[in-house]
Amino acid sequence: MHVWHFSEMAYHPAWPHMGETYRVTVPNRLYDPQIGADLYHRYLDEWALCDELGINIMTNEHHATVTCADSVCTIPMAILARETKKVRLLALGMPIANRENPIRVAEEYSMLDVISRGRIEMGFVKGVPFEISPANSNPADLMERFWEAHDLILKAMTTHDGPFSWEGTHFHYRSVNIWPRPWQQPHPPVWMPVGSPGSAIEAAERGIVIGTLNTGWARTPGIFDAYRKKAAECGRSAKLHDLAYMALIGVGRTREEGWRRADQILDYSRTSGIVSPQFANPPGYVAPKLAASAIAGGLNTARATRLQTRDGKPINPRTVGVEDAIGAGLVFAGTPDDVWDQLKAFYDHVGGFGHLLMMGQGGHISHDDTVDNLTLFSQEVLPRLAELG
């Protein structure tokens, strides 16, 4: 089992000033660059520590939001590619349907791969619906653009005989010839986050590693099953390391300490979905059948019932407490034994997976608590994960 520490680099000092939305329209006068600089350095220190702890590193990006101040996922990676020496670096990732220039994405990932001497794993993400407005990208042909960008990036990274031409639907280049080429051959591993069996199938067809975020006890098995089934249909059996699951993790010397840390990290879940409805359902982002219920006013209801505990109790991510979040498989928390037991039960429930995306920092949890959380996890939980493959 590979473990990756993930933080959204939240700018939480502005949270007390938020109104109906934490995204898209919040004015950046609420961002103090001096406080922001301290936070960036702090989060980078926590990632750098992971190199000593044997925990891999994961970044992501969001735009125009107080929930995530990492607006360019490859910038912290560029720092960490040199600052770390051992662990692997996953950006999950690059919103390639919202980036105007896929060649630039290929160049960024290739440079990172070479600087890190082959430690980059490259995520390509569809992006949540509220990324549409900041990027001003067309939601109605998003996935068509996503796959064209994906194909172009991989071709750019794997072509070594001089320029090639690309005249596609969305992207046009007469002379693609990236320097440097990547360190890893034929290219760094490709990941994408998925939230439904349908997108898991699309990833399985292409041998892409999937990461499931916030899918919990109820929705994860269907996604992993769909991936395994499709991979088998394509003539290969899905490996454990094709599947990743993200959980919020709070470890403590006592159960109380672990739960307190998890409760602070859970502010990520409580805030990240707070967005005005018109930004949560841009036209064309999902198929008309799904979009229809959102227009009719069912979006919030539909979203809310998607998360539930293993006993079938629906939970509201905006108000969820640690106990229910553990019940829903979103959080593993408590003593190292508690965390291991919860993780093992979840692992067995979903049929296994090879990557644990550990949100070890989120919300308001302090630097000291984060360091202790990561350190305890690496000392007391990580060694036991070897038996999970």
């Binding site: 898209v24 329209t25 407005s133 001003n136 067309n138 939601p139 109605a140 042909d141 639907t169 005005s276 409805p277 018109q278 930004f279 841009p282 036209p283 064309g284 008309p288 059948k289 979009a291 229809a292 219920s293 227009i295 009719a296 006013g297």
Partner: protein
């Protein structure tokens, strides 16, 4: 519903009434609320109402993705049906389509009626001529679109599932064609002088999507065009005041 030439991009067309034909090009949303207007117009003439490719359940080939493509398809339709000197009426997004037809083939259009049309940009880069309806809450959205939302905004609770899906498909299609540049063609303003047909520009006096002064600028940019406000109506005067719009069209086409 009739299908035209199966080798062409298929069109889903509804034809109502009898008499002199009129081609109506619908807007990006609120299609079902046009029904009383269609019935009113069809009392005196034939009304041909295509669903734009990609809207509702109408097919759209992958390559077909600009308003210019829609315009060419309808110019083909005029040829296929032998429609000469036809009255073309376009509302909102459909007005943009009508403008793209009229600048491409001025001689094919008999008379042009634009109702709160989109498609043209007059102001500078930091001023919006066309409201960004996609940042509006559901409540703000209907207040931008209707002078009397309580009476004319759709009650989606009464819609069937297929009707709701058609609404979602309409909104997605409007975005596919008009997301960036937002609901206009930057060059179109420079070709409006090509429009040869007598043109009537009708505008809801309380339109908050594109304000009446935009309509006045549009009329001024089209040779000989006349501008007329429709009282008590927002962005869709044919929905909020179908009689006034139908009478204005009938008066104009009888001249």
């Amino acid at each position: 519903m009739a299908q035209t030439d199966p080798n062409a991009v298929p069109l889903e067309i509804e034809t109502l009434g009898r008499g002199t034909p009129l081609l109506f090009l619908h807007g990006g949303d609120y299609f079902l609320q046009n029904r009383p207007f269609f019935d009113r117009l069809a009392r005196r003439r034939q009304v041909i109402i295509p669903r734009h490719p990609g809207f509702g359940g109408a097919a759209r080939p992958d390559w077909f993705r600009t308003v210019g493509d829609i315009a060419y398809r309808y110019l083909d339709l005029l040829d296929e049906r032998g429609l000469d000197e036809t009255v073309v009426v376009g509302a909102s997004f459909g007005g943009w389509v009508a403008l793209e037809m009229a600048v491409r083939s001025p001689a094919r259009i008999g008379r042009l009626v634009l109702i709160d049309s989109l498609g043209v940009k007059f102001s500078g880069r930091e001023a919006r001529d066309i409201a960004d309806i996609h940042v509006l809450s559901a409540d703000e959205l209907v207040r931008h679109n209707f002078a009397d939302p309580a009476r004319f905004a759709p009650d989606y609770a009464k819609y069937s599932e297929p009707e709701m899906e058609a609404v979602a498909a309409d909104r997605a299609a409007a975005v596919l064609y008009g997301w960036r540049p937002y609901m206009h063609d930057p060059a179109l303003v420079h070709w409006l002088h090509r429009i040869a047909a007598p043109t009537l520009v009708l505008w809801g006096a309380e339109d908050r999507v594109v304000a009446p002064d935009y309509g006045e600028r549009l009329a001024a940019a089209i040779p000989g065009a006349r501008f007329q406000r429709i009282a008590g109506a927002g962005h869709h005067p044919q929905i909020e005041n179908p009689d006034a719009v139908a009478e204005a069209i009938e008066g104009f086409t009888a001249e």
